[in-house]
Amino acid sequence: MYMYQHSRLKTNRLGFFQKFRNFDYILLFCIIILGFVSLVTMYSTDGGQVLFHTKSHFTKLIVFTIMMLIISFINIKYWFALGYLSYLVVIGLLVGTYLFGITSSGSQRWINLYFINLQPSELMKVFIILCLAKYFHRMKLENVNSIYTILTSLIIIMLPMGLVIVQPDLGTSVLIGISGIAVLWFAGVNHKYFIYTMLGFVISLPFIIAFLKPYQKLRVLTFLNPDRDPLGAGYQIIQSKIAVGSGGIFGKGFLKGTQSYLEFLPEKHTDFIFTLFSEEFGFVGSAILLIIYAIIIYRIVVIGASCRSYFAKIFCYSFGAAIFVFITINMSMVLGLLPIVGSPLPIMSYGGSSMLATMIGFGIVMSARVHNQQLIA
C-alpha cells in the first residue's frame, strides 16, 4: 500500500538542493568525526608529528570524503545498474593481482594501477554486496531458496574468496565471504541453511585446521594460549593487551601511550590502531569510539528501512552488517578474543583501499538515502 501513495514521486527528479536536504546529516557528521579521530590517532602513531602516515591519511580522507559525496548525488538506480559490472571489474583486478601483483611481506595483495597501488580484495568486500543485492533484487522469495539461486550466489561469493585466499590473505577472504553471506541472509535464504552450515563448520573445524598453513595454525594456537611464545607468535597479542589494559579508565593521555610510542606495538598504523587509541584515551575514549561506530551502523540500518527499493534496503542492511562484522573482528582480535587475522578497522586504519571501499559503501548508502523514494524496476 505504501508505495502507491507515493507513486507520483516515481519519476521525480530531485533538484540539487533537494538532494542536500535529503542527506542524513547524523551519518555524515559521524563519518566526519570518525575521520577526525582517525587523523588524530594517526598523528599519534607518527610520534606526535605530521609525518608520512598523517599526511597521507589526511589526503585520502579528503579525497574519499568528496568522492563519497559525489557518489551520494548519483541516483541509486545507476549504482544498481553498475552492480554486476563493478563486481566483474574487481574480479578482473583480482586476477590481475594474481598475475602481476606486488608482493609485500609474503603475500601478493596489491596491484599497481599507475596512479595508485590498489588492494582489490578490500574493494570486493563492498562490491560483492552490490552485486548480490542486484542479483536478489528482482527475485521472488520462493525462488530465493532454489538450488540454482543458492549455487549461483555461492559461486559469486566463492570466486573472489578463492582469488584472495591464494594471495594468500585468509582474513580478507573470510570477510568477503561474510559480506556475501550477509546479503544471502537478508535476501531471505532459509535460516535452516545457515544453521546447517554453522553446524557443518563447527564439525569440520578440526579438518579445516589440519589444512591450514603452518603460520595460520600457529595463530590459532597462539590465540588459545598467547604465552606459549611471548616473544614470537604471541608477541603481538600480548603487547596489544598490555597496551589496552594499561590505558585504564581515562587512558594515558594523547601522545603518551608508552606501548606505542616506545614501539612495543606492532602494526600500530593499521590493524592495531584501536590498541593505540585505547591506550591513550582509555575505556571512556574507546566506548565513545564504539558509540560513534554504533551510530553509523544504526543510521545505515535506518536509511535501509526508509528506502522504497528492495535493492537499496538489501544493500544498506548488508553493508551495515558487514561494517559491523569488520569492526567486531578487528576489535575482538586486538582484545584477544579472536585469533590474529588481518582485518583493518574501517576508516581508522591506515590504508587507502580499505578506506576507499568503506567510503564507496557510505556513498551508496547516502545515495540510497538521498534517493530513498526511487523505485528500481
Binding site: I249, L290, V301, A305
Partner: protein
C-alpha cells in the same frame, strides 16, 4: 501485479524480520566487546599497567665503588684511582672509520689491540658503549682531549678502578681484584646482587675474604627504553654506597722492609704482636704487582709469573709447608720439661754422631759439642741432645705440646681459604694416614724438626709469640679492631703446666742469640732496647748421604733446589718482649747466616716504630 505485490510484501516482511534479528545480535556483540574493554581496562588495569612499566622501564646498574684497605696508620694500601677511559657510541659517530683510525694513531694502538676493538664493535648494538681503552695514561688522555674537536662522538670518561700503590708489597696478603667470572657470580651472593658487566671482584687474599664488606652497592639508573632496548630518557638515579673500608694491623714500613730483605729470594717473613696477636707484617716472596690483574693480565706477564721457579703465586706464609728444623727445638725442650722427662741439669754427651737402633744420627757439628745441658744444647742447637730427649719423650707427648702452641692447625681459621694446616705427626696419625706403625727413628728426627713434621711460617711465628708472651694463647688477626670482637673466649689461657719452664726456654733462646757460641750470635743487637732472642733452623730438603758428608760442600756449591731452607724465629725486645717473628728463606742455606741477619734489621725497625704504633692505639681509644 497483485502476485508481485504480495511477493514484495512477503519479501519486505522477511527482510525486516531479519533486520531485527541482526540488530539484536549486533547489540549483544557490542555489549560483549564493551565488557571485554571494561575487563581489560578497568578490572585488570593494575596488572597491565605493571606489565607496561616492565616493558618500558629498564634499570642499569653501575659498578659499585669498592671499599679500601688501610694499614694501621691509615695509609691506603689498596685504594681506588680514577682510570682514564675512552668510550665511543658508534651510532653517534658520523664517520666511524675515520674516527677509529684517528684514535689508533693518537693512542698508538698496536694492530692486535686495534683488531680487538673492531671485533668488540661488531659484537655490540650501535647505541651501546664501545670501550676502546680502559686505562689510559694521563698523557694519552689529554692528547685525546686536545683532539676532541676532530673526534665526534668520542667520550673521554673517568671511571673508578682498583689500585695498589705499594705494588708487590701486599700482594699475598690483600690479593687482587679482577673481572668477575661465572663461578664468582654463582658462589657469592653479594656479587650476584651487584653484578654488572666488567665488575671487578677479589680473587685471592683479603680482597676475596671480605668481598661482602668491600663490594658496596650499585648506583642504579632507571631509563625508559623502547622495544629495541634503546634508552629514551632517564627517569631516576639512585646513588649506591661505597664498600666498607678495612683498616689492617699491618705496618707498611715493616712490610716494605720484609719485601726488601727477601728480594730475589723465595721465602716468607711474618711479624706479630705477642700480646694481641696483631699481624705487623706478613710477606711472601717473590711477589708480583697486583695492578697487572686489575684490567686483565697480559699473556706474557702471566706466563712470566706462572713459570717463575720461585713460585710467586704461592703465598708461602700460609701455604708453605716446611720442615721446621731446629726452630722446633724450643717446643721439644719445653715438652720434655713439662712432662718431667728432663730438668735443666740433664746432660748428654755429643760426639758428633750417635748410633741408635742400628742407624747413625749426625749432629750438625762433626766434632760434637761434648757434654751439653739444656741451655747449651739450645744455644748451640745440638742435635744429639734433642735426639736423646725426643727419644725419651716420645712423639705423642711432643705432638700434644706442639699442637697446644698452634702447630698443625690453621692460624687464621676461615680467613684465608688457601691456608695450610701443616702436619704434627703422632703414632695415631701414621696408623690412620699411612697404615703403618710408628718407628722410633722417626721420633728421633722429629726432635730436630725433620721427617713428617711440617709447619707454615705463620705457625712458627705464632708458636714463638706464645712462648714469648709467657705461654698464653693468642689468636692472630689482621683487621684492626678484631681484638675486641671476633676472638674466642679462651684467649690468654695458659698453655703451660709450670710457667718456670717457659722462662727456661726463653732464657735458652736468649743465650742462642746473645752469648758467645750461640748460633745467631753474629746477628745480635747489644743495645738492650733492641735486644732479641731467637732460634735458628736449617731444614734439609733432601736426605744427606754419606758422600755429601765427605764432600761437605758450601751452600753456593750445591744446586739451588737442593740447598737447605734457612729459618729463624725470634722475639724482642728481650727484657720486655712485644713482637715475635719468623723468617724463612727457601734454599737459603743456613738459618744463622741467612735468616737471622734479617731478623736483626727487622727488630731494629719494629722496635723503633713501637712508640708510634702505641700512640696510634692511644689516639684510637681517645676517638672513642
Amino acid at each position: 501485479m497483485i502476485n508481485s505485490s504480495s511477493d514484495n510484501v512477503k519479501k519486505l516482511n522477511s527482510i525486516n524480520r531479519r533486520m531485527f534479528i541482526t540488530g539484536s545480535l549486533k547489540f549483544f556483540i557490542m555489549v560483549g566487546i564493551i565488557s571485554r574493554l571494561f575487563f581489560l581496562q578497568v578490572k585488570e588495569n593494575k596488572k597491565y599497567l605493571t606489565l607496561s612499566d616492565k616493558n618500558r622501564i629498564r634499570e642499569w646498574k653501575l659498578a659499585p665503588i669498592r671499599g679500601e684497605f688501610h694499614d694501621y696508620f691509615g695509609n691506603v694500601i689498596a685504594g681506588n684511582f680514577e682510570a682514564y677511559q675512552l668510550h665511543i657510541i658508534p651510532e653517534q659517530v658520523d664517520d666511524f672509520r675515520y674516527v677509529i683510525y684517528r684514535i689508533k694513531d693518537l693512542l698508538e694502538l698496536s694492530d692486535k689491540e686495534f683488531k680487538k676493538v673492531l671485533k668488540k664493535k661488531n659484537e655490540i648494538k650501535p647505541w651501546e658503549t664501545l670501550i676502546v681503552s680502559d686505562n689510559l695514561s694521563w698523557q694519552k688522555f689529554s692528547k685525546i682531549n686536545n683532539h676532541l674537536y676532530d673526534l665526534n662522538g668520542v667520550k673521554p670518561v673517568i671511571s673508578i678502578s682498583r689500585s695498589y700503590p705499594f705494588k708487590e708489597n701486599f700482594t699475598h696478603l690483600i690479593g687482587y681484584v679482577s673481572q668477575a667470572n661465572q663461578n664468582d657470580i654463582e658462589t657469592t651472593e653479594s656479587i650476584k646482587k651487584n653484578f654488572v658487566p666488567g665488575l671487578k671482584v677479589g680473587k685471592v687474599g683479603l680482597e676475596k675474604t671480605f668481598e661482602e664488606k668491600l663490594i658496596g652497592t650499585n648506583d642504579i639508573e632507571r631509563y625508559e627504553v623502547n622495544a629495541y632496548g634503546r634508552r629514551i630518557s632517564q627517569l631516576e638515579f639512585q646513588k649506591g654506597e661505597k664498600g666498607q673500608t678495612l683498616r689492617l694491623t699491618i705496618d707498611t714500613e715493616v712490610q716494605k722492609l720484609a719485601n726488601e730483605l727477601l728480594k730475589d729470594q723465595a721465602g716468607s717473613i711474618c711479624v706479630m704482636d705477642i700480646y694481641t696477636g696483631a699481624i705487623i707484617a706478613m710477606h711472601s716472596s717473590p711477589s708480583f704487582d697486583p695492578n697487572l690483574f686489575v684490567f686483565g693480565i697480559s699473556k706474557d706477564d702471566w706466563q712470566l709469573i706462572r713459570n717463575d721457579p720461585m713460585k710467586p703465586l704461592v703465598n708461602k706464609t700460609l701455604q708453605g709447608n716446611y720442615s721446621p728444623g731446629s726452630t722446633i727445638k724450643p717446643i721439644v725442650a719445653l715438652s720434655a720439661l713439662e712432662n718431667g722427662i728432663i730438668d735443666t741439669n740433664f746432660t748428654v754427651k755429643c760426639t758428633g754422631k750417635n748410633e741408635m737402633y742400628g742407624q747413625t744420627y749426625h749432629c750438625w757439628k762433626k766434632k760434637g759439642h761434648g757434654f751439653v745441658s739444656l741451655r747449651n744444647a739450645m744455644k748451640q742447637s745440638c742435635d744429639t741432645y734433642f735426639y736423646e730427649i725426643a727419644r725419651k719423650l716420645g712423639v705423642d707427648r711432643l705432638s700434644e705440646t706442639a699442637k697446644k702452641f698452634g702447630l698443625g692447625e690453621k692460624v687464621f681459621g676461615d680467613l684465608f681459604d688457601i691456608e695450610k694446616k701443616g702436619l704434627i705427626p703422632n703414632t695415631q696419625w701414621k696408623k690412620n694416614a699411612l697404615g703403618k706403625g710408628w718407628l722410633l727413628g722417626e721420633t728421633i728426627i722429629t726432635g730436630i724438626g725433620q721427617g713428617y713434621i711440617q709447619t707454615t711460617p705463620i705457625q712458627l711465628c705464632l708458636m714463638t709469640a706464645q712462648i714469648a708472651n709467657g705461654g698464653y694463647k693468642i689468636y692472630p688477626y689482621i683487621v684492626a679492631g678484631d681484638e675486641q670482637k671476633n676472638q674466642p673466649a679462651d684467649k690468654y689461657t695458659p698453655l703451660y703446666e709450670n710457667s718456670k719452664n717457659i722462662r727456661i726456654i726463653k732464657d735458652a733462646m736468649f743465650g742462642s742469640t746473645n752469648e758467645v757460641m750461640g748460633t745467631s750470635y753474629k746477628s745480635r743487637i747489644d743495645n738492650p732496647k733492641y735486644r732479641f732472642a731467637g732460634k735458628t733452623g736449617t731444614a734439609q730438603v733432601k736426605k744427606i748421604t754419606e758422600r755429601d758428608r765427605e764432600l761437605d760442600l758450601k751452600t753456593f756449591e750445591i744446586p739451588y733446589e737442593e740447598r737447605d731452607h734457612a729459618l729463624y724465629v725470634a722475639f724482642g725486645p728481650y727484657k720486655n718482649p712485644r713482637y715475635a717473628l719468623s723468617v724463612i728463606v727457601e734454599h737459603g742455606g743456613n738459618g744463622s747466616t741467612t735468616a737471622a741477619p734479617m731478623a736483626k734489621k727487622l727488630f731494629k725497625l719494629i722496635i723503633d716504630r713501637h712508640n708510634l704504633r702505641q700512640s696510634m692505639d692511644d689516639k684510637r681509644y681517645l676517638e672513642i
